[in-house]
Symmetry: C2
DNA sequence: CCCAGTTATACCGATCCTGTATATCTGAGC
DNA sequence: GCTCAGATATACAGGATCGGTATAACTGGG
């Protein structure tokens, strides 16, 4: 019943190996093995199946991970920031997220942020990059996760890169194992974002470069609408897998990777340059966004690749 | 960064004294003093003001308590139940709460329950006792917090007793320091629950016994409506303080204690006798409700008195 | 001024954690 | 079937941390 062992356990679950976890934790492997055994004895359950290529969570282990990861993270943040003057900030902070990242990011992010900054009311707006940028320049939005932008009035830093996949309805012929060539996209009706989002420009620029002509029958800025149109068989979507994981699990949607070329979308964190916030606050919030994203990526929940972090002076 | 010290810290905060906390924790006082000092050094903040009559939380201490109590409890429950077959139950559990307890109980209760039973979808219904009892007998509601009932088809056990206060609008003359006699109630327009709830019968029976005639101008089963009517100056309400703490803090409502006689309302936990649930599951859920209530009462958030617990064989 | 009650300090023994060295196990490749 | 690489498990010793006992220092109240 100690955070210590729990942190070890979670790291092992992430790494899938006691050995690798011992390395990243900076302790010796036998010590870690021992802690796992003690934790298992304490709880009276087997947490891992030991194999010759590492360890694998049992059902109980998976349950423990699911129920302890978030509270443990909240504790860590709460203790880290309790001494910080930033924790005293009383204010509303307005966070902007793109629709294609809310499903995976919103809830854990709010958990973490409210643990670190209990006096702050966090508000989340879901909108396209251009709307969020406008909101930030007006001062209505404080910090956003958006597509890359070049604007001197914003601080922007890359967060992660995510592969895009082709998503179709239940009756489509898409299979995760069979990649679809980009040229094939031109022969299928596409449902693209209405506003010039990162995904849409990525798709359109590639089409232009390869001299393909796309059929875009519908366009909408609502991810919800996009997915229901796809589900109804009205067309195909180009989306990050994380944005429709639930529907794919539920067999409502199918997907296939893209190739020749594959497409990606880049996300980053942006804050306004002239923030009326306590010094360092926005930076910390940005760090927590990064940490939360790193955690989701590291645990395999978010299939993306992290961009290199900000240099830590 | 150890649950150990955090638990000690929270207990001290609850008891208001290192000495008393040491007794209830079963360790020596110097050891506990030491742990507090170490925790304060770790975090770099002063958590308590030491006085000759105990200790008092500083602002940072209060913040730490607010941000760590819930996650810590979730961790404890998650670890306690990870090995239990009950944690594998996949089912929806329908919980009934009275409107006057939801505000204070719903959120922490859901936190705790979902940590203990991750596979269960908890649904909360807010209704009056008679509706909840009916729902439980029909099997639509599994477990409820309700006024005391005598019904052989239900298992019922007392949970806590709470004082009722007179609540008026912002312009009323009520003051927390000046108790209002019951006789005075008859001279004020009251807004009482429409259904025969515990609060309403308590008020009406007392009036009958003392031969007072009440003026009940409006009645509604919605606590929301009740409070907005009171706020608009349409009348007075008889409510537990916990049901309108937020509005009183916000200076939208005022209150005064009742005397001659004072009124209370009793709450208990009830489950149907013929549950189609795994053996012991409802019992455990009931225990968690009790624990959560005890925690809220112990920390002073819920100004009520616990009923004696079930005998623990 | 004294006393009861509180928190803080000093020291000691026991426990738990970690690192080093080594054993054991398992799956892949020949 | 055998071997080997890579993984986890066991044994033992050193060191840090925790809790207990004894005692000091502090603060209000009578």
């Amino acid at each position: 019943m100690d955070t210590h062992r729990l942190r070890y356990f979670l790291r092992i679950a992430d790494e899938g190996s006691i050995n690798r976890a011992a390395n990243t934790l900076g302790i010796a492997q036998p010590a870690l093995s021992r802690q796992v055994r003690l934790l298992e004895e304490d709880l009276g359950v087997t947490l891992f199946r030991r194999t010759a290529r590492g360890v694998q969570l049992t059902e109980e282990g998976e349950r423990l991970r699911a129920t302890t990861a978030a509270p443990l993270r909240q504790l860590e943040l709460a203790m880290r920031y309790v001494g910080s003057p930033l924790a005293r900030v009383e204010r509303g902070l307005h966070i902007g997220l793109p629709a294609t990242a809310t499903g995976i990011l919103a809830s854990p992010l709010l958990d973490g942020l409210s643990a670190a900054f209990p006096r702050v009311d966090f508000q989340i707006s879901v909108a396209s990059t251009d709307v969020l940028v406008e909101g930030m320049l007006k001062g209505a939005v404080d910090i956003s996760v958006i597509d890359p932008v070049q604007d001197g009035r914003l601080f922007y830093h890359d967060l992660l890169v995510e592969d895009l996949v082709l998503v179709g309805g239940r009756t489509s012929d898409l299979q995760p194992g069979t990649a679809i060539e980009f040229a094939e996209l031109a022969r299928r009706p596409l449902i693209l974002p209405a506003s010039p989002s990162g995904i849409r420009t990525s798709v359109e620029n590639t089409a232009l470069r390869l001299k393909h002509r796309l059929q875009s029958r519908f366009s909408t800025d609502s991810l919800q609408v996009t997915k229901s149109l796809i589900e109804a068989g009205r067309g195909y979507g180009v989306l990050p897998l994380s944005a429709c994981a639930a529907e794919i699990d539920a067999r409502k949607l199918r997907y296939a990777p893209l190739c020749d070329p594959s497409l990606t979308r880049q996300l980053g964190v942006a804050v306004t340059a002239n923030l009326e916030l306590p010094r360092g606050f926005a930076t910390r919030v940005g760090e927590i966004i990064r940490e939360e994203a790193a955690r989701l990526v590291g645990s395999g929940v978010w299939g993306a690749r992290l961009s290199p972090p900000l240099s830590e002076a």
